[in-house]
Each structure stands twice: as structure tokens, then as C-alpha cells.
């Protein structure tokens, strides 16, 4: 049905490679989010799945059937466009009916499907209006409705929320998630917004420069980013990155020395590193804890208090790079104050600066994350 398999997919526009050797499997019923910065190829990948772009090489199969040579209409997909792409001269009803009429559905069946979709999306009152008489949110629903009536094997969403205001975006996000739970159909959703990716996805696919950087559940990607790019892309504010050197402890634990007496304990596999090796240590702002004991000297510059939480901006003493520390609740350190902070247990990420990959972890279970 709605499972998708991309094998060795390549796409270039002239001399520019847009997608590079993309391999991906999506199971029936999954909600998959393609995320990445502008120009990473996520929209191109979606359009290739839709059949709106040709592939340069590789294969693409939907429901076990190779669809590479099929037209968009034959692929059993439906797409919700960023601009909604509603037919401006047709009423909402006709917008929904158009695809079914093209497929020569019976009138009664068309009416039934429109009624069902309209009820599901609460757009019944607008069925006889033209798109320009609707608000952005209503148009969005109609665009989703046009996809629903087709009863596709896969729904494709191309940044569908980017034209909505912030409040509506949060609401629609929840509605799309709810829709997915009701319909249990495969959905592929493209966004550059990591919050949408984290909150909606069963599976996130992070892309950069036409390559898949990592595939996994939101939590997997958040807790075990495969490389520096994924670590920096997911999570806001960004992960703090410190330069350091490997120190092997007496118990064969791997520590990172970032230039202060306090050493940072890591979960890295001692077999994969050598003492003195240069590494990059990553700590998310929320994973720094204030400590009374040994800690890194964090000099406060200023803070942003959001009431329920506080972001403190500063730097480690003697270093120029900005470091962000998150604290729950209201917290108001004086500028210039030096705080002692340490990464929470098991929250330190270590990367090899040469290839930016995360270092292998020890295979023992890490209770601290549970």
C-alpha cells in the first residue's frame, strides 16, 4: 500500500547535483518529515516522489511497484502545496471534485467523498465559496481536503504551514497530526522548521546538500545525532560546541579536557579514541547544570527571561565563543558573574572534528537517559 522505497536516487539540474545517492524506506502508515536548511533538496525529493520531477538515476517504488516512469496521477499520491494551489476559478466543491471527475468517478461517490472530507475538516459552510473568499487557514483545509478525497496511498505535504500565522500554525500542526492518527495513511511532510519535525514525525529524515544525514525517530535524532550537522540542526537554541582533547581515565572512561580543571565525562567507547586526540564536545543549553563543586567557569553576559524559563548568554572564561545555558523558571544572574556549570550525566556529545561524525558509544545500557 503506502510504503515507499527509494534506491540510489540521484537528481541533478544540469551540472548541479540536487540529490546524491538517496536511499530511504518508509513503512505504510508512517508520518515522515523531511527536514533541512533551504536548498538541501527536501522539496526536490518530495516532488520526485510526486512525479513532478524526473529522476536522473535510481529507482522509486510505492507499494512495491516501481513508479519511476509513471505520471503523478498514476502514483496514488496526493499533494498539499505550500501555496495551496487551489483552482481560483472553481468553488471549493469543484476544487475537491476535479480530481475525481478526471478519474471518471460516479457523481454519487464524488458527492459522498466530498461530504466526508468536508465534515472531517469542518469546511462544510464554505463548499460553494471561491478560494479567494476564504482565509489562509480555510484554504489550507481545502487543500488538504482535495488530497483526502483522492484517498491516496501517500500524502505529500510541501511546507504546508509556512503561509500561516504563528497561532494558526500550531493549531493546524495538531490537526494534521490528528488527521494522520485517524486515517493511518502514510504521510510525507517537508519543512525547514525543526519544531514541526520534532512534534509531528514518527520518523525524521535530515537532509543536507542533497544527502540524507540521518534517519530516525525525533528522540533518537535529538539524543544521538549521528554527526555535528544533525546535532546543530535539531534543538533550539543550538547545541554548544566546545573544542577539547581526549583524556582516558583510570576506569577506562573517556573524558574531554576543554581547557579547565574540570574534565567532562563522556559515554564514548575507549576503543575508538586515543588519549590526546582532538574532539568537539557538544552540550545542549538545557543540559548544562549549575554546580557547587567542580565545574566550567561560565561568565554571564546577559539573560533572556521568558517567565517559565531563562536563557543565559555568556562565554567560558578566557574564551570568546558564545555559550548558551538554559535554566528552568526565572533566573537572573548579574552580568559579569562567573557560574560553575557542568553537562548533565550522559548528555555530552562527542564528535571527531575531522569527519564531524559522533564517536562510537560504549554498548552498555545508559540508565541515566530513562
Amino acid at each position: 500500500m503506502g510504503d515507499l522505497k527509494l534506491t540510489k536516487l540521484n537528481k541533478s539540474f544540469g551540472a548541479v547535483a540536487a540529490l546524491n545517492d538517496v536511499n530511504l524506506e518508509i513503512d505504510n502508515g508512517e508520518f515522515v518529515v523531511f527536514v533541512g536548511p533551504s536548498g538541501c533538496g527536501k522539496s526536490t525529493l518530495l516532488r520526485i516522489i510526486a512525479g513532478l520531477e524526473d529522476i536522473t538515476s535510481g529507482s522509486i517504488a510505492i507499494g512495491g511497484r516501481n513508479v519511476g516512469a509513471l505520471s503523478p496521477a498514476e502514483r496514488k499520491i496526493a499533494m498539499v502545496f505550500q501555496s495551496y494551489a487551489l483552482y481560483p476559478h472553481m468553488s471549493v466543491r469543484k476544487n475537491l471534485a476535479f480530481g475525481l471527475e478526471n478519474l471518471k468517478f460516479k457523481r454519487a461517490e464524488i458527492e459522498a467523498r466530498i461530504a466526508e472530507a468536508a465534515r472531517m475538516l469542518a469546511i462544510e459552510p464554505y463548499l460553494d465559496r471561491k478560494p479567494r473568499q476564504l482565509s489562509g487557514g480555510q484554504r489550507q483545509r481545502v487543500a488538504i481536503g482535495r488530497a483526502i478525497v483522492r484517498e491516496p496511498a501517500i500524502f505529500l505535504f510541501d511546507e504546508p504551514l509556512s503561509n500561516l500565522d504563528a497561532a494558526l500554525r500550531v493549531q493546524t500542526r495538531a490537526e494534521i497530526t490528528k488527521l494522520h492518527r485517524q486515517m493511518k495513511t502514510t504521510m510525507i511532510y517537508v519543512t525547514h522548521d525543526q519544531v514541526e519535525a520534532m512534534t509531528m514525525a514518527d520518523k525524521i529524515v535530515v537532509l543536507r546538500a542533497g544527502r540524507i544525514e540521518q534517519v530516525g525517530t525525533p528522540l533518537e535524532l535529538f539524543e544521538h545525532p549521528r554527526n555535528l550537522f544533525v546535532a546543530g540542526f535539531l534543538g533550539s537554541p543550538r547545541m554548544n560546541i566546545l573544542r577539547g582533547k581526549v583524556v582516558i581515565g583510570d576506569d577506562h572512561s573517556v573524558f574531554v579536557d576543554v581547557g579547565y580543571p574540570a574534565l567532562l565525562r563522556t559515554a564514548a567507547d575507549p576503543a575508538s579514541v586515543s588519549a590526546g586526540q582532538e574532539v568537539l564536545a557538544g552540550v545542549r543549553p538545557a543540559h548544562f547544570a549549575l554546580t557547587d563543586g567542580e565545574g566550567l567557569p561560565f561568565e554571564v553576559q546577559y539573560h533572556e527571561s521568558l517567565g517559565t524559563e531563562t536563557y543565559v548568554y555568556g562565554n567560558f572564561q578566557g574564551q570568546a565563543e558564545q555559550v548558551i545555558v538554559h535554566q528552568p523558571g526565572h533566573f537572573a544572574p548579574t552580568p559579569g558573574a562567573v557560574l560553575k556549570i557542568m553537562p548533565e550525566e550522559g548528555r555530552l556529545h562527542v564528535f571527531d572534528p575531522a569527519n564531524e561524525l559522533a564517536l562510537a558509544r560504549r554498548s552498555e545500557p545508559r540508565e541515566e537517559l530513562r
Binding site: 510526486a50 512525479g51 505520471s71 498514476e74 502545496f81 483552482y87 476535479f98 480530481g99 478526471n102
Partner: protein, 329 residues
């Protein structure tokens, strides 16, 4: 006062400062509400002299008789000119009319308008649809189809006359194929056919341009949505492209109709003055001949015919504009 730094900006500021005082003075004198008309005045004066005044004079002439040029020397004849033009035993038979050439010209013009509007619209639309695709050398073709629009009608008439003459290019070509030569411009059917062909060739570039602009304003993702919606090319054309091109098609239809009714110069040159016989004598040519080219210069009759033609164009335009509003809503 807006602060500006560049030399050009300072020059503008200086000019503004120069006119500000007199403009303020005028505004105090005539009041703010009359100011727009002051700014419109230069254009209105030119329009008045070269458009509205000639219309008024023509209407005046339409109610006078005789052959004198100066209106002060012309006798007032009331509706006589109109009566003469419109008196007909059977309107379908020009010979039964008081002014038979007028009715010949009217029927010729109506037939021409019918064929020319349909042919030009179709050719321009098809050309625009093709040029809107990503074909090779698109810019070259766009320029090429527009190029005839830049030529003078007389030049167009002459070029095609050479092409269609007894010893013209087309006959030379036909002879090469073993087809006996045809004197196209002396045959009623062929000459009428080629008047339409020449008119289409001459004007289509302009209408193609308008339609092309409309086509390019249709968002690309509508076509992608239609592709996903399983619309066939013909359904995409009739259900997406043409409806969205509606406003442009209407503009083209109005302009095309008006300009078809006005057919004169290129046809006059091509057909040696409306021939064979009166087969290609159109309304404007009738007006021209009646007023300026006949033995008797019947300015009054010609003016009356002009007024009638103007009224028809006015009705056509208003009807189409009303239709356009209905289409849009």
C-alpha cells in the same frame, strides 16, 4: 521635507521646493477638490482637440448636405443622410438599397469581422500556448511573431500583393509543384480569403503577446496540482488554462472586434481599392471613397456613415464590458 543625500535626490528636492510655493498658491485659489482636474487639464486639452472635437465635427457634418467643405456653407438637411443610408427594400440585398455600396460594405465588413475574429483569436491562442512552453529559441519565435505588428499597413499590403500576384512568389511555387497558377487577387473567394490571412498575419503577434502575458500569470503549481489530479491535457486546457485566461481573452476579443471593423489600409492596398469589383470594399473604405475619392465629395453622407459605425462600436464595447464583469463575478 524628506532628507536625502544623493545628487539626484537633491536635484529633486530643489525642483520640489521650486514648485511647492506656486502649487500651494493655486490650491488656495481653486480649492483642493479641483486640483486633480488641473493636473488632468493638459491631457484633456490634447484629447479634446484631437479626439472629441473631430467627433463633434463629424456629428455636425452628418446633418448637412451639399459638397462644400466649410460647414458654414453647408445646408442643414436634418436626418436625410441617415435616411438615405438606411433606406432599403431588403437589407440582405444591397442592390435594393438607396445607397447600395454602403450595404455592400456593411455585409463585407460583417463577414470579414466574423472570420477574422475567429481566425486571429485561434491562431494567436495556439501560438501563445506553444510559445508559453519551454521550447528551443523561444525568445526568437516570440520576436518573430510580433515583428509584423511593427510594419506599416501599406507595406504589409504591398508585400502580400507581390506574393499573391499573377507572377508572384506563390504562383511560382505552385508552378514548381505542377499546379496551374491562380490569379488570387482577381478571384472573389481567394481575395477575401487572403484579406483575412493577411490581417491575421499582421495582427496576431499583438494578441499573442497579450495572451502570453496572461498565460505566464497562471501559477505553475496549478498545473502541477492538475497533473496530480489526473487531468488530461485537454481537460487542463479547458478547465484550468482557458478559464484563467478569460480576462485576457475578453480584452483580445474587444480589441480584435473593434480593429476588425476598422479594416481598411492593408486591404485597400492589397486588393487595389476593394476589388475585385466591390468584393473587398469595407465600411471604412466606403466612408473614405464617399468623402474624398468620388467625383462628388459627399462629406455629409460619409459623416453619417461614420456616426453609425461609431455607434455600433460603442454598443459592441459596452456589451462586451458588461459581459466581462459578469464573467469575473
Amino acid at each position: 521635507m524628506i532628507r536625502s543625500t544623493g545628487l539626484a535626490d537633491r536635484a529633486v528636492d530643489f525642483a520640489m521646493a521650486l514648485v511647492e510655493a506656486p502649487i500651494n498658491a493655486v490650491e488656495r485659489l481653486i480649492g483642493k477638490r479641483r486640483m486633480p482636474y488641473l493636473f488632468l487639464a493638459p491631457n484633456l486639452v490634447l484629447f479634446g482637440i484631437f479626439t472629441f472635437l473631430p467627433i463633434a465635427i463629424a456629428v455636425g457634418y452628418a446633418f448637412t448636405g451639399g459638397t462644400e467643405l466649410l460647414i458654414s456653407n453647408r445646408p442643414f438637411v436634418g436626418l436625410d443622410n441617415f435616411r438615405k443610408l438606411l433606406s432599403c427594400a431588403d437589407y440582405l440585398t444591397p442592390g435594393s438599397c438607396g445607397e447600395s455600396l454602403f450595404w455592400t460594405a456593411i455585409w463585407n465588413t460583417l463577414w470579414f469581422v466574423g472570420f477574422n475574429v475567429v481566425a486571429t483569436l485561434l491562431v494567436a491562442l495556439i501560438t501563445a500556448l506553444i510559445l508559453n512552453r519551454a521550447i528551443a529559441a523561444r525568445g526568437f519565435f516570440r520576436a518573430m511573431f510580433f515583428y509584423p505588428v511593427l510594419l506599416s499597413p501599406v507595406v504589409i499590403g504591398l508585400i502580400w500583393k507581390w506574393f499573391l500576384d499573377r507572377n508572384g512568389l506563390l504562383n511560382a511555387f505552385l508552378q514548381m509543384l505542377g499546379v496551374p497558377p491562380e490569379i488570387f487577387l482577381l478571384d472573389v473567394g481567394w481575395s477575401r480569403f487572403f484579406v483575412v490571412v493577411v490581417s491575421v498575419w499582421f495582427h496576431m503577434g499583438f494578441y499573442t503577446l497579450i495572451l502570453l502575458a496572461g498565460l505566464q500569470a497562471i501559477p505553475k503549481d496549478l498545473y502541477e496540482a492538475a497533473a496530480i489530479d489526473a487531468a488530461t491535457p485537454s481537460r487542463t486546457l479547458f478547465r484550468i488554462t482557458l478559464p484563467l485566461l478569460g480576462p485576457n481573452l475578453l480584452v483580445v476579443l474587444i480589441l480584435l472586434m473593434i480593429r476588425s471593423v476598422q479594416i481598411f489600409d492593408e486591404a485597400w492596398v492589397l486588393t487595389n481599392g476593394g476589388g475585385p469589383g466591390t468584393a473587398n470594399t469595407f465600411l471604412v473604405q466606403y466612408i473614405y471613397q464617399t468623402a474624398f475619392a468620388g467625383d462628388l465629395r459627399l462629406f455629409g453622407l460619409a459623416a453619417a456613415a461614420s456616426v453609425l459605425m461609431g455607434l455600433v462600436l460603442l454598443v459592441l464595447t459596452l456589451a462586451q464590458l458588461r459581459l466581462g464583469k459578469k464573467v469575473e463575478s
